[in-house]
């Protein structure tokens, strides 16, 4: 059954279960990937997805169409994920960003990765780095927005992001070292 997004929203606003399931079916796969990016374990991502969609259905009456439904749902998934990770976030400034002069090389290493590989490595990052990398590099938030969102300083956000990129590059190099042997590097 093909239903327009408007009918889908209205059905969900009336609490009709069949429309809720249709909305879930439409967006669950995309949102599950978002949840995976912010989690370390599959079960954790499932919990985030479940909790986020419950919030979606409870709050869909507040959806005002000033953004797309997909973007609105994604915001809820991201916020739910952040709530899940808050207990693990120990965010302190670690490095002076200006000290690093090999960004270009490190970024190239990371940007050459395929999406599956990158997803896997992002999930291996320490929680703080993982969250801020997701927010800055993928969600497109500015550092001051992240700082506000996570109640940290802008400098902390920047340093965590730098650390994330460094760790990603290091992990790629380590993995390649194991895969191809040190003579190829």
């Amino acid at each position: 059954m093909s239903v327009t997004e408007e009918k889908l929203i209205k059905g969900c606003q009336k609490g009709k279960r069949e429309f809720q399931q249709m909305l879930y079916d439409k967006y669950c796969d995309g949102m599950f990937l978002v949840a995976l990016r912010y989690s370390k374990a599959q079960q954790e991502a499932e919990d985030i997805l479940q909790e986020a969609f419950i919030k979606v259905f409870k709050n869909i009456k507040k959806f005002r169409k000033d953004s797309s439904l997909a973007y609105w749902i994604k915001r809820i998934v991201v916020n739910t994920a952040l709530n899940h990770q808050r207990s693990k976030l120990y965010l302190y400034p670690m490095v002076d960003v200006t000290e690093l002069d090999d960004w270009s090389e490190r970024e190239s290493i990371v940007s050459d990765l395929g999406y599956e590989e990158l997803l896997s490595l992002i999930r291996e990052l320490p929680t703080g780095c993982q969250v801020i990398f997701n927010l800055f590099a993928i969600e497109g938030f500015k550092h001051h927005e992240i700082a506000e969102k996570l109640k940290i300083s802008e400098g902390t956000s920047k340093s965590q992001y730098s650390r994330a990129k460094s760790l990603l590059a290091e992990k790629v190099l380590q993995r390649d070292k194991i895969k191809y042997g040190s003579e190829k590097l």
Partner: protein
């Protein structure tokens, strides 16, 4: 690669990508949505339950009245019967017509004299005169009638019976009947008003905080060794009630009234929560996430090995929703200041309240474990004082409105501050006799 190019390339990698969501997730969502529906239905069920109780109560009351009607004419009937017995005697009708006065009746040991007439008021005298003429007619029409009830008259006591025989003539006096008969009524009332309530002591709230939820709310991660202080303020709230009552008049002025009512009180407030958390963290644990690394092991240029003593304070303000529902059995005494078509009655009494539900929670239900809160007493008692204005719209229907004030005699909560309420009740009552 420039900074922007890097982020753009990363974003492109994830554009339009999906990962198949496990099927079990929808089941969990559906279960949660169903559980919420059950909660809503349960709340509605509580209200319907008490409305059903009220409906059943009224039905039983009405059926009782219909099945066992209250008779207020039995005395008059016996008097009337006796009077007829007197009429059946062979009266000296000449005596009556000669004197122009009611005759002195005598049967057996009883003597009936017209002295009693003097005790009637002027209004009653008029009525009596009207009916006296009918008595006179009766004398003629009933002359020579047989007297089967004579013996019953003869067994009656003496002087106490005299007055009723004359009041037989007043059997049809509506006013006299109404004034001398206890009224019984049943009614339905609904009320709304305000109450001030600072239901929860700070101690109760402190003990009911959910540390994980609070930590999540303040964005601090989990607390390690928290010390919590809570300052709470509650705003004035709304009380609504619905109930049935029944009452009886005692004499012309006094009344006694009781019934059963369902009352719900809602109010909001806020709690300022201060958390002092003191702990030590190992920086290496942070750098390496869950993997960890032994102390002293170098892991790169950006690492540092240290332990950090942390003392953090968090201030958080959380909104509070308070809802209390209870069933009440009021008992009120009343005194009519005015009792005509428009009535004015002063009421005073008390109410026994049984707690149906008490719930104090934050809107997210993450910070307060409302299930753990034990803020309310199962039973409590209120004092009630009010002024009821009534207006008779039909023969037996009265509309009423009563502003009343209720104050706790025994506290509804285990806090020192118990609520007082100002409520305006309105409803109708039906006189059952």
């Amino acid at each position: 690669m420039g900074p922007k190019n890097f982020e753009n390339s990363i974003q492109r990698k994830f554009e339009n990508q999906t990962r198949k969501a496990p099927k079990g997730v929808w089941d969990g969502i559906e279960n949660s949505l169903n559980a919420d529906l059950v909660t809503v239905y349960a709340a509605q069920h509580t209200m319907y339950k008490w409305m059903s109780v009220a409906a059943v109560f009224i039905a039983v009351l009405l059926m009782g009245v219909l099945a066992f009607p209250i008779s207020h004419t039995s005395d008059n009937q016996s008097v009337g019967t006796s009077y007829n017995a007197l009429l059946s005697q062979d009266w000296d009708t000449e005596l009556f017509s000669r004197n122009g006065q009611p005759p002195t009746f005598q049967t057996g040991d009883l003597t009936f004299s017209p002295i009693v007439i003097n005790s009637f008021s002027q209004e009653e005298e008029v009525l009596f005169n009207v009916e006296r003429s009918s008595i006179r007619n009766n004398y003629y029409t009933h002359t020579k009638a047989i007297s089967p009830l004579k013996s019953a008259i003869e067994t009656a006591t003496v002087s106490e019976e005299i007055y009723p025989y004359y009041s037989v003539a007043n059997t049809n006096r509506k006013k006299g009947l109404t004034n001398n008969t206890s009224k019984v009524w049943a009614g339905v009332e609904a009320g709304a008003g305000s109450f001030n309530a600072d239901f929860a002591g700070t101690g109760a709230l402190s003990n009911s905080l959910n540390p994980a939820g609070l930590a999540s709310a303040v964005g601090s991660g989990s607390f390690v060794n928290p010390t919590t202080n809570v300052a709470q303020t509650m705003e004035e709230g709304i009380a609504t009630s619905i109930g049935v009552d029944f009452g009886v008049s005692i004499g012309k002025k006094w009344t006694l009234e009781s019934g059963v009512a369902y009352t719900r009180m809602d109010n909001e407030g806020a709690a300022s929560i201060n958390v002092l958390d003191v702990y030590t963290i190992d920086n290496n644990d942070f750098i390496n996430g869950s993997e960890g690394i032994g102390d002293g092991v170098p892991i790169g240029a950006n690492s540092r090995e240290a332990t950090i003593d942390v003392e953090k304070t968090y201030d958080h303000e959380v909104a509070l929703n308070n809802r209390v529902q209870f069933a009440s059995i009021p008992l009120k005494a009343g005194y009519f200041l005015v009792n005509k078509k428009l009535s004015l009655r002063v009421n005073a009494g008390f109410s026994a309240n049984y707690l149906v539900e008490g719930n104090l929670s934050d809107p997210t239900k993450q910070i307060l474990n409302s299930d753990d809160l034990n803020l309310y007493n199962e039973w409590s008692f209120d004092g009630i004082g009010g002024l009821e204005l009534g207006y008779s719209i039909f023969n037996k229907f009265d509309l009423t409105i009563e502003p009343n004030y209720r104050h706790s005699i025994t506290p509804i909560s285990n806090s020192v501050n118990s609520p007082s309420r100002f409520v305006v009740q309105t409803g109708f009552r039906y006189t059952l006799n």
